[in-house]
Amino acid sequence: MKGMHSNRRRSRSGAEPGMVLRFPLRGPSGNQTGASGGAVYWLNAATVDLYPFDEAYLCRLRARDAKTEDHFVDYFSNLLKAKLRSDGYSESPLADIRQETLYRVLKAVYADKVQNPKSLRSFVYGVCERVEWEYDRGEWPLWQDDYDEFPDLSDDRTPADAPARQAELHETAHWVLDKLPEKDRKILISLFLDEKERDEICVELGTTRENFRVLLHRALSSARKVLTRGASS
């Protein structure tokens, strides 16, 4: 994984980024019925939706409307986290790149350099890729730290409901792992921990790389079922 061993990838913050989780609140064990005998539908794994960014949103962002800035930071923090994980960054560099990307995008918005709100997601990803490139070349010490004019993007942004969401997802992951056959559980744990080379896991546990994605697919499906299961069942 990127950013784990190289000195030049040393983190500036050295901390886990403040996560804004969008997660369900009910564990696999509960089962309740709602008002008037109807089913109570438990939370889905709501994370990031296709928010319809429009000109009005962009105007509010340019005008530094605090609520819009909060929404922007929450929304893109989750997206960038997914992207940066997939690009192989560990926690500390991930936090730095995410932060620098958000600052640069906001700077461009404030300077009226973003014209098309529909392409905001793609624009953020483009900036992120540029920041990743600079980070990989060891240029992060050159990044400017004059962030005073920007909203708080510190690593300790934690919404009030985050602990409940984290606890719920934690419980679900536990439940999913417990339900798996021994061999599949070992494979999934190895993938989660990400401490060994994938080929090494294949040899040790007698599996194939193709099986990883199938197993992860099943685990994600199980988690979804657990999280969306209603009391009607």
Binding site: K67, A160, L177, L220
Partner: protein
């Protein structure tokens, strides 16, 4: 494998979400998938959900691994300490006395565990507050004030318009700033009332909209119901 473009069908067939999460895509594939999921609600949600699930899974895996290691260490440690002592204790009189002491301890522990379980059950029992929202679309635009204890489960009901045009429905809780705070997939059951449950700690005090969206077969979503509420915690 598509190198420059990926549509939804290809993404599904190629396990794109899983391969993306497992970092098993080439740079080109990753780029093509990113271009797709940035415009696809289903894949976008799948990727972000998967990311957070992997994170939670990592924590659980670490705990499980730690527990296994400490269990192995504890077993080894006890064997090392007990074996020399047992050679003396296995004589008849000390063995009987030891068995009696052991029985007492086991009985006491059983009783104590039962007591603790009961106490725990009492602690997590929470009040459930039920509230029906009036749809703004039906002429009443006022937000409903819901004042509840901080530890209460809030069950919200909201009427919405079902139609054959939609293959599925979901509910979203959105705050005043337009951020989606919760999303619920609604199961396909008869009736036109969506019920959702908010567990303690899931939302802070404030004004929220509960929006019901209908999804057509081609993935287009349209609002089919909306209600507003103000959440306030009673002292």
């Amino acid at each position: 494998m598509a190198t420059h473009f990926m549509n939804h069908q290809q993404a599904l067939e190629q396990y794109a979400t899983e391969r993306y999460l497992l970092r098993e895509m080439t740079a080109e594939e990753r780029h093509a998938f990113e271009e797709h999921y940035l415009e696809c609600a289903e894949c976008l949600e799948a990727v972000t959900f998967g990311t957070e699930f992997l994170e939670a899974g990592k924590q659980v895996a670490q705990e499980m691994t730690r527990r296994e290691h400490s269990a192995v260490r504890a077993a080894a440690s006890w064997r090392e300490r007990l074996m020399p002592a047992l050679s003396g204790w296995l004589r008849p009189a000390p063995a009987i006395a030891f068995a009696l002491v052991l029985c007492s301890i086991v009985s006491y522990q059983g009783l104590r565990i039962h007591q603790l379980k009961t106490e725990q059950t009492m602690k997590v029992a929470r009040p459930e507050i039920r509230s029906m929202l009036t749809g703004i679309a039906h002429g009443a635009g006022e937000a409903k004030l819901i004042e509840v204890p901080r530890d209460a489960v809030v069950s919200l009901g909201e009427e919405y318009g079902r139609s054959g045009d939609y293959v599925s429905y979901r509910a979203q809780v959105m705050n005043e700033a337009g951020s989606i705070k919760q999303t619920f997939e609604l199961p396909d059951v008869p009736g036109n009332v969506a019920n959702v449950a908010l567990l303690p700690g899931s939302l802070g005090e404030g004004k929220y909209n509960l929006i019901i969206l209908g999804r057509t077969a081609d993935g287009t979503e349209k609002e089919v119901g909306r209600g507003a509420f103000i959440l306030k915690f009673s002292k």
